[in-house]
Structure formats: structure tokens, C-alpha cells
Symmetry: C2
Amino acid sequence: MGKEFLDLMDPDDVKQIIGSLNIGRRVETVNLGDAHQRVLAGDVYSTIDLPPFDRASMDGYAVRAQDTFGASEDDPITLTLIEKIRAGDVPSKKIKKGTCSEVGTGAPMPEGSDAVVMVEVTDIRENRVEILEAVTPGTNRALRGSDIEKGKFLLSLGTLLTADKIGALSAMGLKEIPVFAKPTVAVISTGNELIKPDEDLRHGKLYDINSESLANAVKSCGCVPLASNIVKDDYKSLKNKINAYKNADIIITSGGTSAGAGDVLSQVVEDMGEVLVHGISVKPGKPTLIGTLPGENVDVVLFGLPGYPVSALMIFHGFVAPFLREIAGVKELMEKRDGFLLPLSRRYHSARGRSHYVLVKIEEDIADPILKDSGAITALAEADGYFEVPKNVEIIEKGEQIKVMPLSGL
Amino acid sequence: MGKEFLDLMDPDDVKQIIGSLNIGRRVETVNLGDAHQRVLAGDVYSTIDLPPFDRASMDGYAVRAQDTFGASEDDPITLTLIEKIRAGDVPSKKIKKGTCSEVGTGAPMPEGSDAVVMVEVTDIRENRVEILEAVTPGTNRALRGSDIEKGKFLLSLGTLLTADKIGALSAMGLKEIPVFAKPTVAVISTGNELIKPDEDLRHGKLYDINSESLANAVKSCGCVPLASNIVKDDYKSLKNKINAYKNADIIITSGGTSAGAGDVLSQVVEDMGEVLVHGISVKPGKPTLIGTLPGENVDVVLFGLPGYPVSALMIFHGFVAPFLREIAGVKELMEKRDGFLLPLSRRYHSARGRSHYVLVKIEEDIADPILKDSGAITALAEADGYFEVPKNVEIIEKGEQIKVMPLSGL
């Protein structure tokens, strides 16, 4: 049994190291119908004029505006109705002096017309339309290309495709678009004590938690978890398993990082590649390891998280998630959306010199810290989010506003 | 061409009507691996004790605490090492006076031991362990069931299954769980002018936007969109299409709700069921229709949205999304997460007596209202969210804090 003490690194330094890591982004083409929550891999320019033709923007009558000048409720001007044009129709008659055509919203403007009089300020008797209000040229008409002209910039590379953005792409008649391929993440739980669901719970054994919880946390960052695995906590098993995932973009292990009995991960990573971080000055999650392994094209990044489920998830949120979001291209949006300020339910005391991640339960808009150890499963069941206590803060007073980060994501 | 004016209803009254609607919830069983972002359909009680056995919560030596009393760095107490127990092992030897066993974090406590001395405060020479610090009974030990006992409450019906909650369920060794089936939503675009992607853009035609954007907005509320459709804006086509979706939970149409030319939806709904709302005092989206149709078991709820894409999405977010989130069981969580306060970039003037929904672009933490008409596709491309101006507010000053709601979701 070794007694190797970890050389703890400052969280900010660790974040800088993570920030300098790089993985190649791949591009793939998807149908617009499968593009929800995907990220545009190129700038999109309009392929058509929008609207594609001069159109009515109200239900009413297409007129020559000058024919309506002087019209009022007391002194209406009467025009002759020559055609009815609904959205989707093609007008066949030209508007000449003294005439008008009925138009529905979205209908093409007939030749010769330059404005639409709303139906609400007209009266109609057979084919005679009384105009009760004058209009100026351009009223209730949208010119071809007035929203966007063909060839103009529409959406930028990196846009997260929510419903509204997919709507904008649909307007171009696009069927497929290029998006970033989702980064692949292998999730490996290490530990001789771990068993799979439905297996018999013999003495000394535990159902594996981290492979499911981390796989789902990976999904919430816009990445694809590869099949989850349990491996024995010995050098050869772990090395073989890690070797099997050299085609993944990222490998996340949990367990096997503590100084002391069973710390084999650092040895495996050292032998296969490079250990960049081993030990972070945070609580929980101190024994975290970060390294790189030579991959097929670029290096595979490996995050070795602690075995305790709460520690593993907190380190995931604090260090791994920002990296995954970055390479998946969803970082900016997620951070725009992340976090809400709530008052703390009680005084919280933190050890100076180490950042703390604290799970909270939200009740009646107050954040209540969950003060359980990081092996507690019930902490996961109760948590609505977490907050971070920076390393130079020792006490947060009751009622002070804290920024609660959600545990959910995409 | 009719001139039927809409009888505008107050938005709060409309929300009350929507709140009184009901659809039956269905339950289905899914594998834990497919449970991400699903909603628990029943309370979950622990099926086992957690931890399932007395375990060490640190790397170190399992001892009888009383054997360590008086130990200090200057005056260590020496114990005889009788066994090495790693996580996953089953201890075979009992701790008696003067003996100890090496334990890894998570290893079962050997019989007779009641505390763990951390490896950091020990020295070892062959099988002689020097204890440099006394411990009290229970130190660094977690008793069986101390986190949660078998049969105790773990997670409640209605919980959204994020990574952490799935972790808590994994701890029970569960393979499958009951979740609410996702409500099904048929999305129908009406309009003679609408064409599908890749079709030829003839004069007077437009690529359909709403069926894609609304289908994706439906997904973001935890519901399943059924295949999207375009139908002609005539009574028979629309009625046939609506009839085809009587097995859906909800039908969303867009277009065909304006007073004037082509308003056939209200007639169809009136003939097939009941119109509850036709016209809301909001901008954009005034001509919105809400109705119910007799379904196979319970009524099908129909939302008839305006045809303009911005109007359709704004009414979706303001009125339809809260209902979908409610019946999908994700409302509470989404609303916890929704909305952030930002200063407005410029004075905004709104017409009194009508609620306004305004799209905004966020730049450098300032919300800039997008002042385009609701037919503008570029507004969708630029938008980062929207805010609501209540009906009794006429002016929001530059710099005033507004609550920006995201356009994204699950």
C-alpha cells in the first residue's frame, strides 16, 4: 500500500490546462427534421429572396395608393373589384386606375398595385369596394427580399438549432444541413466492488452508479456516451479497457484515483500517454486526474473522476462539462442559460484555500445546501442544483444570493 | 369574403381556460439507459439498504477504536496487520484486540472493527502498523443503511430524470422504471401557398416554416411531434386532416385563423367539437383559436396558431408550451430554469390593453428588442429569447430589467 500524496493544483490552473486541450471537430449532414439541438457547422446564407415576391401583409384590397387619396368614412372612394387573390394564387389581372383586387394575407400583390387597404376600413357591395381610409404607397405590402435578400447572411457557424432557428432554415427550403458531429465519450467505472443492475447484491458489492449518471451527464452536454463499462480496479484490466476506446474523443473513468490502495489509473495513463493533472484543490473531488493518450488522429483526452457519485458529478460539472460543451459547440448558449440567483437558507462555512461545490435543494425560492458526504446517494435524489464557493471565500451568510447551477442540460 | 371580427379575450382568461383542460396521462416502462429527460410516473422507494454493508469511507486501517486511545505522533500505538481488504472483497478475519486490517475506500468493515484510521496518520513496517492519531468509534465508517434504508422514500412521481436522478436509481440496481409516456402532438400547417423543402418555388409560393419549427418546439416541451403536414386552406382538406389525428393528444395548426378570406379553421372546429377561444388580446398572435374535439378516450385539444412564423412561435411559447410542459410533467422544472433578468437596450413602447411578446437579441448582457414584423424570418434567425410586456404596461424604459425567456427547452 503506497502513501503517495497528491500534489494539489489550483482549480483555475486546471481550467487553463483544460482550455488548452484540443480535439478535432467533425462535420456531418443531417435532415432538418433531425437537427433539433444540433450545432451548425458552417455559416448559412439565404438561398432565396424572402419574401420571394411582393406580398400583402394584411387581408384587404390591393390598390394604387393614389386612387385612395382623400378617402374617409364620410367621403369614401369606390373602386371596382376585378379579382380575388388568396395566398398561393397567381394574380392574373393588372390593377389600373379605379380598380382593386381582394387579397388575403400572404397573397402576391397584383401588377400595378402598391398598397393594401385593410378589410376593416372598407365596405363592399357586389363588385364595388368602398375605401374608407386613404393609404400611402407601400402600406401593408412587403416587397420581395425585404426580409432578407438571396445571398445575405442568415445564421452563423456555431448556432444551436432550436425550433426558431430550424424555422429560419425551413424558410430557405433546405432539407439537409451540415452540423458538428457529436463528440464521443467512453464512460468507464472502475472498481472490484461494482456490479450491474439486476445482478445479485453479494456482500461487499455495490450497484454501479457512475456509468449511468455520467453517460447521461454526457448527453446533457451535446455529446454521445459510448456503451458504459465496469472494469476491475487493476492495471491490466484498466489498460485494456482504455486501449479499446482509442477511437473515442474523450474517455471518462471514475474511481481508482485516490492515493493509496488501488490507485492504478495514474500508472496506466503515465505508461500510455501523459498525466497533466493529478489532484485538484477542490472539495469534493480532490483526487481527480486529467491526461492525454495518443489517439488515431488527435490525442484522446482522459478525465479520471473520483469514485464517489457526488464527487464524480461535481467534478464533471465543474471541469468536464465546460470542455464537452465547448467541443460540442454548445458552450456559449448553455452558459447564457445557466444559473439563477437564490438566497441561501443558512450560513455556509467552507475551508479556505479549496473551492467547494455544494449541492442544493430549492424550496420556495430558497437554496438549501445538502450537507451530506459525497458517498450519499440521497444527496443526488434531493438535489436541484449546486453552487460553487470560490477558494478565497470562507463564509457565505444566510440569505446571501448565490448562483445556483442546474444539474440538467440539453 | 367575410368581415367577421374576432371577439378578443384577455390573455389571463385564456390561460385559465387552458388550465382547465385535461388530457389523460399514460405510463410506460423504459430502460434506465433511455430515461434521460423522462418523467417518473410513480414514487420510488429504496429497494435496498445504502450502503448495503458497513464500509470504510477512507483508505486506511480498520481498528477497534479503543485500541487507538492515547496514540499520538510522539507516542504511537502499534497494531498487527492481519488482512488487506479492498473494495469488493469480503473480509475473512475478525479484528481482535491489538490487530487491524488494511481497508480501501468502500471496502466492507471487518467484524470487530468500529473505525478507520486514515492511512495519512499511520506508518507501516512489514505487518506492524503504527497509529499516530487516536480515533473514536464510527470514525471514517459508514453504517449499513446510513444513507438510506430499504423501503424509505427516494424520488417522487413527477421527477425529471436528469443524470443525478438516474444515478440515484442506478444505486438501487434498477434496470427499468415507469415514466409518463410523452404526449403526442400533431402539427399541421395550413395554406395554399405552402410548399415542402426542395419543391420548386413557383410564383406566390412559400416554403413551409411552421411545421418544422413547431414540431421542434414540441420536442423541447417533452412531447413527441407526429409527422408534420401541409394542408390546403379549405374546409374539406382541413377537416379530413384533423380527423386523421383524433388519436393524438393535441393538434396544433397554423394559418387559416384570421378573420377574412380563408378563415376555415373555426368552422371546422365548431362542426367537429367546440371552439373555446377565438382571438386573444395579444400582439403578435391575435387570431389564435383554441378548441376541443371528441377523441378516442378524452378530448383532443386543438390550438390554431396564426400563420406568420414569429406569431406562431410566440403564441406557442406564451400559451401552448406551458400546457404541453404541464401534461408532459416537466413544467415545474422548466419554469425553475426559465428566464434571466437583463437590461433593455432601448425604450420600448407597447400598445396598452394588449400583451406584447417581443423577440430579443442578447449582446454583451443587454437585451435588444427585434423590431420586425411577425412575418420576418430574420427575426427568428437573430433571436436569443423573448420577453412579455403585460397588457397594462405601456412603456419600458431603456436600461430597465426585463425577464428574458429562452426559446430553447429540453
